[in-house]
C-alpha cells in the first residue's frame, strides 16, 4: 500500500521533472534571442548572398562587348540528362577565312526541366556557361521558364575554337 503510494508520487515527480528539463531548454532560447538563427526573408533580400557554387540557373557568360564563348558544339546538350538545353545552330561566314562556320542561333534553356546537376557546366569545353546564384524563379506562366540564353545581337568572341 505504502509502496504503491510512493510509486504514484515518484512517478508524478519524475514526469514533472522531465517536463521541466525540456522547458529549461526552450526557456533558455526564449530568453536568449541572440541564439536564434532564423533569417527574415524577404526583408533581408539586399544582404542575402548565396555561396559562389550555389546552382541557381544556367547562364551564358557575356562580356561587355556582348560576346560569348559558345561555339555551338552541343556538348552540354548531350551531357544534360533531361533535355533541358537545346542548341539551335546556324551557319555563318567566318570573316577571317571566308569559310562557312557553325554558330549558335538560339541557346534554349528550359528552366522548368533542369535538375541543377551541373553536368552541362563541366562538359563545356570553352567554359561558356556557368551557374548563376539566382533562386527566385517563380513566375505566373510556365512558358516564361523557357529562356533563350544568348542575348540578341551577341556573337562569339574572337579566337574561340571548338
Amino acid at each position: 500500500m505504502i509502496k504503491s503510494i510512493i510509486k504514484y508520487f515518484s512517478e508524478i515527480f519524475r514526469g514533472v521533472k522531465s517536463l521541466l528539463t525540456g522547458m529549461k531548454i526552450t526557456g533558455y532560447y526564449f530568453t536568449h534571442p541572440k541564439e536564434i538563427i532564423t533569417q527574415q526573408y524577404p526583408e533581408n533580400r539586399e544582404t542575402l548572398k548565396m555561396f559562389d557554387r550555389f546552382r541557381g540557373e544556367v547562364v551564358l557568360i557575356h562580356d561587355e562587348n556582348n560576346e560569348h564563348k559558345c561555339t555551338g558544339c552541343s556538348a552540354c546538350e548531350i551531357a544534360c540528362p533531361n533535355g533541358t538545353i537545346e542548341i539551335i545552330s546556324d551557319k555563318a561566314i567566318d570573316p577571317e577565312t571566308g569559310k562557312p562556320k557553325k554558330v549558335i542561333d538560339k541557346f534554349v534553356y528550359h528552366l522548368s526541366m533542369c535538375t541543377f546537376c551541373n553536368l552541362c557546366i563541366i562538359a563545356c569545353p570553352t567554359d561558356a556557361i556557368k551557374m548563376a546564384q539566382t533562386f527566385e524563379h517563380s513566375v505566373f506562366d510556365r512558358t516564361k521558364l523557357t529562356k533563350v540564353l544568348n542575348k540578341p545581337g551577341s556573337k562569339i568572341m574572337a579566337g574561340i575554337k571548338e
Binding site: R14, G15, S18, L19, T21, G22, K24, I25, T26, I37, M50, F51, D52, R53, F54, R55, A79, P81, T115, F116, C117, N118, L119, I122, M131
Partner: protein
C-alpha cells in the same frame, strides 16, 4: 444487439454485441506517413491486426531511366531516391562504376567522400529526430533538429553547390575540390553540435511522455529483422550487426576507428537510441579524418564516354537508413544494360506488419517514425 433463443425455445436473457474487424486506409495523403505511402490497416477496435503497405504512388521508374543514361547521368538520378542520403547514394553508383573500370581513385577523394557521407548521415538523423518528435506531437524538436541541420546544409552548399540533391560525386572522384572554408566550417559544426546533441536527450529522450509511447512498443526480434532483410540502425537496435562500413569497408572507413552501434532490445525506444548514438559515432569519424585529408587530385582521369566492360557489378554501402546495393549489368555500351537498386527503405517497410500486430494506431505512427522511412526510396 441480438436476442437469442436457448435450446428450449425460450428467450435467452444474455445479450451480446457482435464485433467485427474493419479496414482503415492510412494515407496516401496522411502527414505522418511522410510522403505518399498508403497503409491498409485491419483493425479490431483500436488494435491493429494487420498492416498492408501499398506502394507505388511516387514511382518514377528510376531504374528504367538509368538504361538510357550515361554513367555520369545515372549518378544524379540516385539523388532522388533517398534524398536524405543523396551523397551516399551517389557514392554507391560511383564506387560500382569504378569497380567496373578497375579505376584506382585518389586517397583525397576517399577522405572527402567519407567526411561528406558522415555529414549526410548526421543531417539525415537530425531531420529524423525532429520529425520523430513531431509525429508524437512535439513541434519543438522539429525546429531544433532543423536548426542544427542548417549548418550542415551550409557546408554542402558551399562545397557541393546544393543543399539537398547535391550530385557531388562523379565516377572517378568528386566534381570540385573542397572549398577552402570546408575544414573550418566542419570543425565549427562538430564543436557546435557536441554542445547541442545533449539538448536532444534533454528534450526528448528523458521525457516521460516520449518514453511511455516508445518503450516496449514495436518489438522486432533479431530473427525477424534478418528474415525481412531489415538493415541500418533499425536492425542494429534488434541486435543484428549489419554495418557495411564495418563489414565490407569502402572509401576511407578502413582507416578510421569507430564502434558499430548494436543494441538488443529491439523496441521503438532502442531504435531511437541507436540513431542518437550513431550521430556521436559519425562525429567521431569526421574528427579523425578532417585534419588528415591528403593532398592530391580530387578526380581520377576518366574518359568522357564511360563504357564498362561487359559483366555484372555490385556495390553495397551503408546509407542513413541501411544497406543500399547497386547492381549494374553492362554490355559494353555507354549506358548500362540494367541497373537495380536494393533500397533499404523497401525492406524496412515490410517489417512493419510484424512489429505493429497488437499495437494501437497511435503507436504505429511512432513505429513508422523509428523505421525512418523515405517514400521515394521505397518506390524509386
Amino acid at each position: 444487439m441480438f436476442t437469442l433463443l436457448d435450446e428450449n425455445g425460450k428467450t435467452d436473457t444474455k445479450e451480446f454485441t457482435e464485433t467485427q474487424e474493419y479496414f482503415v486506409n492510412m494515407g496516401p495523403q496522411h502527414p505522418s506517413t511522410h510522403g505518399v505511402l498508403r497503409l491498409l490497416l485491419t483493425l479490431d477496435g483500436e488494435i491493429i491486426r494487420r498492416v498492408e503497405p501499398h506502394i507505388g504512388y511516387i514511382h518514377r521508374s528510376i531504374e528504367k531511366m538509368c538504361e538510357k543514361d550515361s554513367y555520369q547521368q545515372v549518378v544524379h538520378l540516385t539523388d532522388r531516391m533517398d534524398y536524405l542520403s543523396c551523397h551516399i547514394n551517389n557514392e554507391a553508383v560511383c564506387l560500382c562504376v569504378e569497380k567496373g573500370l578497375q579505376l584506382e581513385i585518389p586517397e583525397r577523394v576517399k577522405y572527402i567522400r567519407t567526411i561528406i557521407s558522415e555529414l549526410t548521415r548526421i543531417a539525415s538523423h537530425q531531420l529524423w529526430w525532429g520529425v520523430m518528435g513531431m509525429d508524437l506531437g512535439a513541434i519543438t524538436s522539429f525546429l531544433y533538429g532543423f536548426r542544427d541541420r542548417e549548418m550542415i546544409t551550409d557546408i554542402f552548399e558551399e562545397t557541393c553547390g546544393a543543399r539537398l540533391t547535391m550530385n557531388y560525386n562523379v565516377p572517378g572522384g568528386v566534381m570540385f575540390d573542397i572549398h577552402p572554408n570546408f575544414r573550418k566550417r566542419t570543425k565549427d559544426f562538430i564543436s557546435h553540435f557536441k554542445k547541442k546533441l545533449p539538448e536532444y536527450d534533454e528534450l526528448l529522450t528523458g521525457n516521460v511522455i516520449f518514453e511511455e509511447r516508445t518503450k516496449g512498443i514495436g518489438y522486432l526480434s533479431k530473427e525477424d529483422a534478418i528474415s525481412f532483410g531489415v538493415t541500418g540502425p533499425s536492425a542494429r537496435a534488434s541486435g543484428f550487426a549489419c554495418d557495411i562500413r564495418k563489414k565490407i569497408p569502402y572509401s576511407a572507413y578502413d582507416k578510421v576507428d569507430f564502434k558499430e552501434i548494436v543494441f538488443t532490445e529491439g523496441d521503438s525506444y532502442t531504435r531511437y537510441k541507436a540513431r542518437i548514438a550513431e550521430m556521436w559515432e559519425s562525429m567521431h569519424i569526421i574528427e579523425q579524418l578532417i585534419d588528415n585529408i591528403p593532398e592530391g587530385e580530387f578526380k581520377a582521369k576518366t574518359k568522357a564516354v564511360i563504357k564498362l566492360p561487359p559483366g555484372e557489378y555490385y556495390q553495397r554501402v551503408e546509407t542513413a537508413r541501411g544497406e543500399l546495393g547497386v547492381f549494374i549489368i553492362s554490355d559494353n555500351k555507354k549506358s548500362p544494360y540494367r541497373v537495380k537498386f536494393r533500397s533499404p527503405g523497401f525492406s524496412n517497410l515490410f517489417a512493419l506488419d510484424t512489429m505493429a500486430k497488437g499495437c494501437k494506431i497511435a503507436d504505429l505512427v511512432a513505429m513508422m517514425s523509428t523505421l525512418d522511412l523515405v517514400i521515394p526510396d521505397i518506390d524509386r
